[in-house]
C-alpha cells in the first residue's frame, strides 16, 4: 500500500471514529426524547386526569430539551389563560406576569400561532414588564410553542432557560415533536373530559327527572289532575316562591315521605 493510500485510510478511519463518537453523544438525547414520549403516551393510556397528562408533558419536555430549565403549559379557556402545570414556581410566576401584562412570548405564540424563540435581553422594549420579571429570576431566553387542536389554539408549551442564547435548532426540533404530542394529548383529553362531564350531567338530569316525576305523581293523586296540570302547579310554585322547580319538587317529595306512617 502506498504512503498516499495509507494516509487516506487513516483519514477515513478517523472520520468513522468521529462519526461513531458523535452517534454515541447523540443517543442519550434521542433516548431522552423517546423516554419522554413514552411517559406521555403512558399517561394518555392510563386512567388519568388532564392535569396528570399535562404534568407528564411538562416534565418530559424538561427532560428531553437540553436548554429547558423550567417548563409550563398555558391553557386558554373562555376569555382567560391559566397555568395548570409547571415544573417550577418561577414558571408559574412568569406565566402570570404575561397574563396580567398581556405581553410576552406565550401570549405572542397564542395570538399568532407561530413559535416564539426569544433572547429576552433583546426584547426589553418589546415586553418591558415580562422581561424585567424574567431577568430578575435569571431567565434569559424563552421558547413558547402554540398547542393547536385542528384550527383552534388551545394553549402553549413554555420553555424557560437560563441560557442567554437563542434556543438551538436541535432543541427546537425536540420541542416541536413534544408540542405536537402535547396538542394531540390535550385535544383528546379535553374532548374526553367534556364527554365525561356531559355524562355526569346526564345522570344528574335523569335523577332530577325521576324526582320531578314523583312530585307530579303526588300532585296527580292529591288533586286528581293530569301530568301537565301537575307540572303547571310546580311551575307556578317555582315562580311564586322564586325557587328552582326541582327544589320545589324535592321539598314536596321529602314532606310526603316524612308524612308516611312508620317512616
Amino acid at each position: 500500500m502506498s504512503e498516499h493510500a495509507d494516509r487516506n485510510l487513516t483519514r477515513d478511519r478517523t472520520a468513522m471514529e468521529m462519526q461513531r463518537a458523535t452517534e454515541v453523544v447523540r443517543v442519550p438525547e434521542e433516548e431522552r426524547l423517546l423516554v419522554s414520549l413514552g411517559h406521555i403516551g403512558g399517561a394518555l393510556l392510563s386512567d388519568t386526569s388532564v392535569e396528570v397528562i399535562l404534568r407528564s408533558v411538562a416534565e418530559g419536555t424538561q427532560t428531553a430539551v437540553e436548554c429547558a430549565d423550567i417548563v409550563s403549559v398555558t391553557i386558554s379557556r373562555g376569555e382567560g389563560l391559566y397555568t395548570p402545570v409547571a415544573t417550577g414556581e418561577v414558571a408559574r410566576k412568569l406565566d402570570s406576569v404575561q397574563y396580567e401584562s398581556k405581553e410576552g412570548p406565550c401570549l405572542e405564540a397564542l395570538s399568532t400561532g407561530a413559535v416564539v424563540n426569544a433572547v429576552l435581553e433583546a426584547k426589553k422594549s418589546h415586553w418591558p414588564a415580562f422581561v424585567g420579571a424574567a431577568l430578575a429570576e435569571e431567565i434569559r431566553s424563552m421558547l413558547s410553542m402554540p398547542l393547536q387542536a385542528r384550527e383552534q389554539r388551545i394553549g402553549a408549551l413554555n420553555i424557560y432557560s437560563r441560557d442567554d442564547r437563542t434556543i438551538s435548532e436541535r432543541d427546537l426540533c425536540t420541542a416541536t415533536v413534544l408540542a405536537r404530542q402535547a396538542s394531540v394529548v390535550l385535544a383528546n383529553a379535553l374532548a374526553f373530559s367534556r364527554v365525561a362531564g356531559m355524562n355526569d350531567q346526564l345522570h344528574e338530569a335523569i335523577r332530577t327527572r325521576d324526582m320531578i316525576g314523583q312530585a307530579k305523581g303526588i300532585l296527580m293523586e292529591r288533586q286528581g289532575c293530569d301530568p301537565d296540570t301537575a307540572f303547571d302547579m310546580l311551575r307556578r310554585a317555582s315562580q311564586r316562591e322564586n325557587r328552582k322547580l326541582r327544589d320545589v319538587a324535592a321539598d314536596l317529595v321529602r314532606s310526603t315521605q316524612h308524612r308516611r306512617p312508620g317512616r
Binding site: 350531567q201 338530569a205 327527572r209 293530569d226 307540572f231 303547571d232 311551575r235 317555582s238 315562580q239 328552582k244
Partner: protein, 89 residues
C-alpha cells in the same frame, strides 16, 4: 272554572325566538338547555329541540313551559326572577 290545557294544546304566545333570546342572554348552549329541559320531564330529543328553535315544528304549551322553566332556573342562579315568559301566567 277554566279548563287547563292538556298535552295536545298548541303553544300560543311566546315562541322559539323568546327561547333563543333567553339562551343568548344566559350564554347557554343548546345541549345545556336540553339537559335542563329533559330533567324537568321534556320529551324532545336534542335534534328535535334544535329543529324547533330553528322554526321547524310546534310544541305543546307544557313542553314550551318546560323550556322556559329550564332557562328561568338558570336565571335564578344569577338572581333574576323568571324573565322568560310562559305560555300562561
Amino acid at each position: 272554572m277554566r279548563n287547563l290545557p292538556g298535552p295536545t294544546d298548541i303553544q300560543q304566545g311566546p315562541g322559539p325566538a323568546d327561547i333563543q333570546q333567553g339562551m343568548k342572554r344566559a350564554s347557554l348552549e343548546l345541549i345545556r338547555l336540553w339537559l335542563g329541559y329533559y330533567s324537568l320531564g321534556g320529551n324532545l330529543a336534542p335534534e328535535q329541540l334544535r329543529a324547533y328553535l330553528s322554526g321547524t315544528g310546534i310544541l305543546s304549551g307544557t313542553q314550551y313551559d318546560m323550556l322556559a322553566q329550564a332557562l328561568n332556573d338558570v336565571f335564578l342562579e344569577g338572581g333574576f326572577d323568571h324573565p322568560v315568559a310562559y305560555t300562561r301566567e
